[in-house]
Amino acid sequence: MGEHWVGYIGNLQVHWDTLITMWVAMLFVIISSLLLTRKLSVIPGKAQAFAESMLKFFMGNLSSVKDGKKHIPIVASLFLFILVANLMGQLPLRLIHLKEGEFASPTNDINLTAALAVIVLIYYLYYGFKEKGIHAIWHGFSVSGIIMLFVELLEMITRPLSLAVRLFANILAGEILVMVMISMFAIALPIPFMLFEIFVAFLQAFVFMMLSVAYISTAVSEEH
């Protein structure tokens, strides 16, 4: 738990287990998206209806954002990737024994969640500057404007930090909880906790997505 299968490429340290499980999750998302959107027709089949209902869910979440449809790709891919990655921790993939580390959720590695958070940071900063120019962080030359400038600069650190640590800590704590329960009880009693972890997987993916939407929304909205 919390240990990784460490390797080196040149001078760079690599967590192989995180890398492999991340690619499995990404391949799952890509292949299932391709399968679900094959043979589109006016009267949807089962797969297309499912894909459309998912798209509707993302559109509903982005409805309050200006030009919300433009941001569907990143929001949808963040949600689907994190959801699949979180759920992978409950799958029998971790029965494959490694010398160190294990094939659990890739989101139990803080490097991966930090990378996701930095993607969100760059994305909302880019759209903020594109929409409002320098006024995205500069609120005029006054005392409150200067204070707001420092608050905006501070938020560039605290927002990705809290996004990354929230997702990572929730998944890691869930895995530790399940491990403790398995070592305490013999049969059947850990199952409710595993089901709770499935709920947490959905919840954390949703929270990450909603916070990204909130950040994008504040970045592109008009000032009051």
Partner: protein, 79 residues
């Protein structure tokens, strides 16, 4: 009862305090969030659908603060 002297023993007290205090704050926050949700739902039951997703979001955010304490406790005790 033995006296606790070394730093490596004191660390466990810190870990316990970290998780306990964090859980206290998260519990208060969750209680306030649930109270607000219940009051809103009782006053206007037609808004429950709308309130529910926001309540779950807020509850998850409050709970995450408790998880931060757990994280610190784990870092301290596994060091």
């Amino acid at each position: 009862m033995e006296e606790v002297k070394t730093v490596s023993e004191m660390v466990y007290i810190g870990a316990g305090l970290a998780v306990g205090l964090a859980a206290m704050g998260a519990g208060i926050g969750l209680g306030i969030a649930t109270k607000g949700f219940m009051e809103g739902a009782a006053r206007q039951p037609e808004l429950i659908e709308n309130l529910q997703s926001k309540f779950i979001l807020g509850a998850a955010l409050a709970e995450a603060c408790g998880i931060y304490g757990l994280l610190i406790a784990l870092i301290l005790s596994f060091k």
